[in-house]
Subunit: 206 residues, 2 copies
Amino acid sequence: MRKGEASRQEILEQAAHVVSRIGLGGLTIGSLAEHTGRSKSGLFAHFGSKEALQLQVLQHAIERFTDLVVRPALTAPRGEPRLRALFERWLAWDRDGLVGGCIFIQAGVELDDQPGPARDLLVRSQHDWVETIAQVLRTAVAEGHVRADADPEQFAHDLNGVMLAFHHTHRLLRDPHAEARARRAFEALLAAARAPAPAPATTRTP
Amino acid sequence: MRKGEASRQEILEQAAHVVSRIGLGGLTIGSLAEHTGRSKSGLFAHFGSKEALQLQVLQHAIERFTDLVVRPALTAPRGEPRLRALFERWLAWDRDGLVGGCIFIQAGVELDDQPGPARDLLVRSQHDWVETIAQVLRTAVAEGHVRADADPEQFAHDLNGVMLAFHHTHRLLRDPHAEARARRAFEALLAAARAPAPAPATTRTP
């Protein structure tokens, strides 16, 4: 990695922390200079404009999420273990990844009414993520861990709801039970999707 | 209602629409003047400061939510019908209530890292709302519509997740199936909480 590239990555990482706290709307070359102690002219040389900076921060966060959540989760054994790895890493991402929590939740609420390249990038990455969750659920169907008629897209939607509720309960309400609630919600989703156990012998041969 | 009060309510309603689209952070006396075509001096006379304006818009939205969602839902028969009324009105609130969707979801993500009176007001109202949902679930326990060991706080948390996922899927992803997905998630929550039907006679007396 060249020196300029290393420094660019460092700045984008700092910017991602800033966005997680104050939002994409608050991220300008000027505010980033303030938060990082860097010169505005140096930041301009790196990023050129506020719009380019916002896009690159989002892209950086997507790559970081892929490295911290997606790739390691996909190394877990197919089926339920992979689903659990994905859930645990996603939870850790919102809890510990950035100082203000998941940047995609922050950006999603900000950008939903703002058409443009930043919104397009975020929506694409959210579609990819939903599809990844659905695909992991399909491995659980194939392994016989969840029922054959489980709906992968609905499961992905519902799991996203669990994580959005965690973010809300943990960050806004500062509820110390937020993580326990998220785990219970995840287990309930999984229980509902799980393949029914074979009926015990006593009822099959009364 | 005095004329000044009527006009104040009108301005607050317009301001709530503005916040639902661009966020509390974007709501200043200046931006409100721009969006409503009113004079800055007139708005200053009504609200005095940006902070007072933000607080009053939040308070106005809380009252509106109470009028449109909470009060009418509580007139439905106790138990499952009341739960369904609450869900349907809540869904309609996010879908149709304000031009940019639920203002509390927008403000929640903005304020979670910003201590102050606006955050305090929002957190109080969110606690009230969670408690209202839990209380409605308790009427369903009392009516025998859901199981006696259902956890009202967990149910309220999970239902909030369903609504957050709806907001995300509808507003950010513009998914035409968002509402159908939210309904399926609600029905699954309810099914999991429902009191088990008495086992059919054939299996009880094989």
